[in-house]
Point group: C2
C-alpha cells in the first residue's frame, strides 16, 4: 500500500532536490536527503515574487495545491512563484518508508522542525537563488515551519502567515499528539516499527478516530454537516474520509512527523525564551487562527501573536475546525484568500 | 486489584437495596440486582426533603459525598435527606465484576440509563416511601439519569439540576465515548473481556489519557495548574491523578458504563422525539453547564434547556473543564452551592 501511495501518479508532478548527506540539529545525519516540491507560476527576474508553503501533518504538496493555489486565489500563479515543499518524513521527501536499510523504518533519525527549515533554506537559495521570500505560510505543522523560518532567518522572509498552529507546541498540544502516537504504536502489529506492510491498520484507524474527534468540531458531527461531502453516517464519514486518508500512509512516517510536531519549538536557538525568539521576527505577520480549532485554541495562538512585532491576528470560523485546512469549507477558503491578498499587498 | 477497590473500606459506608431479579428495558434481566447507596441527613416526617444524586462515569457515592455534601453546602444534611445512589455497573451496585458465573464479565447484560432510573424509583418508593423527590441532580452520566427521572416520572420530582450532561447523547459525544471503549478493548490482554485481573492496565492507561485530553482544558495543561493539587509534570499529573483513578477499576464495568453513556437518550419512551420528551418535564429545572467542557459543549446543553418548560441555564466556568465535577475547583464548588441553594429555595 504505502509504496504506491507516495507516487507521482497520486501526488505529482513533483521534483526532488538532492541535499546529499544532511546533518541534523541533533548531530545525526540523513544520508542523501531529498526534498520533494512542486512549483507554480514563474519566478520574476528580480526573484521578488516567491512564496513558500511547507506541508502539514500527513499532507503532501498535492492537497495544498488543490486547496490554496489557483487563478484569482490568494496564491495566484499568474503573480507568484509558489513553491510547495514536502516536509522531511512525509514520504515524498525522504522518509523512513523510502530509505534503504539499515537506516530505514524506525532507524531513520529523528527530525526537528528546524531541520526542515534549514533544508528548505538550501532549496530556496541553492536551487532557485532566492534571497528573500515574499511570503512563507503554512497550516498546523506548516505553521510551525513558518514560525521557524521567521525566527531563524529573519532577513530572508518579507511576510509570514502561520495558520492554525503555534511557534512552540503547548503542553496540552504535546499531550494530545502523544495520544496519537500511542494509538499507532500500541497496535501489536506495529512490532517496534518492523511491521508487515498494511498490518498496522487497526492502530492507524484508531489514530484516525482520535484525530477526527478533536480535529473536527462537535457541531460538524451534531448537525450531520459531513453530508455536504457525500457521506451517510458518522461512521461512514470517519471511515471514508479520515481512516481513508491515513490507511495508505506509512506508520513510521506518521510517527516521525508526530514526534516532529511534538517537539516544535522556535526557542531552541534562543535558549528557550519565547519572548526573545518571537521579538526577533522582522516579517509582516498575519497570524491566522480558526475559532473552533480543537488542536490549537485561539487563546494559545493569540498569546504568541502578541509577542510578534509587526503582527495582526486574523480569526476565521469553520465548523470543520482544524481540518478546515483541507480546503473543504468554501467560507474558510474565501477568508484565507482575502487575508493573503491583503498581506501580499502590504 | 478490582475486588478490593469496590469495598466498604474505600467507598463506604454504603447500604445495598435488593431488587431481586430485575427486568431491563431490553427484555433481558439482571439476577438479584443490588443498588448501593449512602444517605445523609434525616427524612422529614412528611418525606418532603429528599434529594437523589446518582453517580457519574467511574464515580461512586463516596466522591459525591466528598465533593457536594456538607454543613452549609448546597446539599446540607441538616436540611435534606440526601440519597447518593451508585449506578448499575459501577462495582458497588451490581456489576460485571461482582456477578457469579455464568453471567459475569462480558456476559453481564447491557444496561440503559432508563434501567437505572427505574431501579432507583423502586429504591426511593419501596425502601423510603418517598412520593416526590425535592431534587434530583447529577453530573455527566448523573445528568443523563436526572433528565431520565424528569421525563419518565414527571410527577415524582419537584426540581432537577442536571450538570454538565445531556438528555440525549449527541453524535459527537457518542463518537468520543466510542474512542474510550476502543482504547480498552484494543488491548490484546482484554481477550474479549476474559482478562486476568490487572492485565488490561495498558488499555486502561490509554483510556485514561484520552479522558484527560478532553476532560480537562488546554489552559489547565498550559498554565501547569495541576501544580495546585501537588503534581510535578504533565506526565506525573496524568499518571498520578487520572491513570490512578482508573487503574483499580474493572474494565468490563467501565465498558458497561461507557455503553450506557453512549446510549443515553430520554426519547426512547417518546418515539425518538426530543421536543416532546423534554416538554413533558414538570420539575423546576436548573440546567448547569461548564463553559470549558470538552465533552458536553454549552451549545449542546443550551439547545436542550430551551426545550424544557420551567428551566434556566446556569453557566459555570472552570479551567478543570468537565472534570471540575470532581470538586477540585473551589470556584466551581461555590458556584454550584449557590445555584443549588437558589433552586432548593424556589
Amino acid at each position: 500500500m504505502s509504496s504506491s501511495y507516495y507516487a507521482q501518479e497520486i501526488h505529482g508532478p513533483f521534483e526532488r532536490f538532492d541535499l546529499g548527506d544532511f546533518e541534523l540539529e541533533s548531530g545525526e545525519q540523513i544520508r542523501d536527503l531529498k526534498l520533494a516540491y512542486s512549483t507554480f507560476g514563474i519566478l520574476a527576474p528580480d526573484r521578488s515574487n516567491a512564496v513558500l508553503f511547507p506541508t502539514w501533518y500527513s499532507g503532501t504538496s498535492k492537497i495544498i495545491e488543490q486547496a490554496y493555489v489557483g487563478a484569482g486565489r490568494g496564491l495566484d500563479p499568474e503573480k507568484y512563484f509558489i513553491i510547495l515543499v514536502n516536509q522531511i518524513g512525509n514520504g515524498l521527501s525522504s522518509a523512513p518508508s523510502h530509505t534503504q536499510q539499515p537506516f530505514n523504518g524506525p532507524r531513520f533519525p529523528r527530525v526537528s522542525i528546524a531541520d526542515d527549515v534549514r533544508a528548505q533554506h538550501k532549496l530556496v537559495s541553492e536551487k532557485f537563488g532566492i534571497e528573500k521570500l515574499a511570503l512563507v505560510l503554512g497550516g498546523s505543522m506548516g505553521a510551525q515551519q513558518t514560525y521557524e523560518w521567521a525566527v531563524r532567518f529573519p532577513d530572508r522572509v518579507e511576510r509570514i502567515a502561520p495558520i492554525a498552529g503555534t511557534a512552540k507546541a503547548t503542553p496540552h498540544n504535546k499531550f494530545v499528539v502523544q495520544t496519537f502516537i500511542d494509538a499507532i504504536t500500541s497496535d501489536p502489529a506495529f512490532e517496534d516499527g518492523w511491521y508487515r506492510e498494511g498490518a498496522v491498520h487497526r492502530g492507524l484507524r484508531r489514530h484516525a478516530r482520535l484525530f477526527a474527534s478533536s480535529g473536527f468540531t462537535p457541531v460538524l458531527f451534531n448537525t450531520s454537516a459531513w453530508r455536504d461531502i457525500g457521506f451517510t453516517s458518522v461512521d461512514d464519514f470517519v471511515t471514508g474520509f479520515v481512516e481513508n486518508h491515513f490507511l495508505p500512509q506509512d506508520p513510521n512516517n506518521l510517527i516521525l512527523l508526530l514526534q516532529k510536531w511534538h517537539g516544535g519549538d522556535v526557542t531552541t536557538a534562543t535558549g528557550g525564551d519565547l519572548k526573545t525568539a518571537l521579538a526577533g521576527i522582522k516579517a509582516q505577520t498575519f497570524v491566522i487562527a480558526i475559532d473552533e480549532d480543537g488542536f490549537f485554541p485561539v487563546k494559545d495562538i493569540e498569546a504568541e501573536q502578541k509577542l510578534i512585532p509587526h503582527s495582526v491576528l486574523k480569526r476565521v470560523s469553520s465548523i470543520w475546525g482544524h481540518l478546515a485546512l483541507f480546503g473543504i469549507d468554501a467560507g474558510y477558503n474565501a477568508a484565507i484568500d482575502r487575508h493573503l491578498k491583503e498581506l501580499l499587498a502590504a
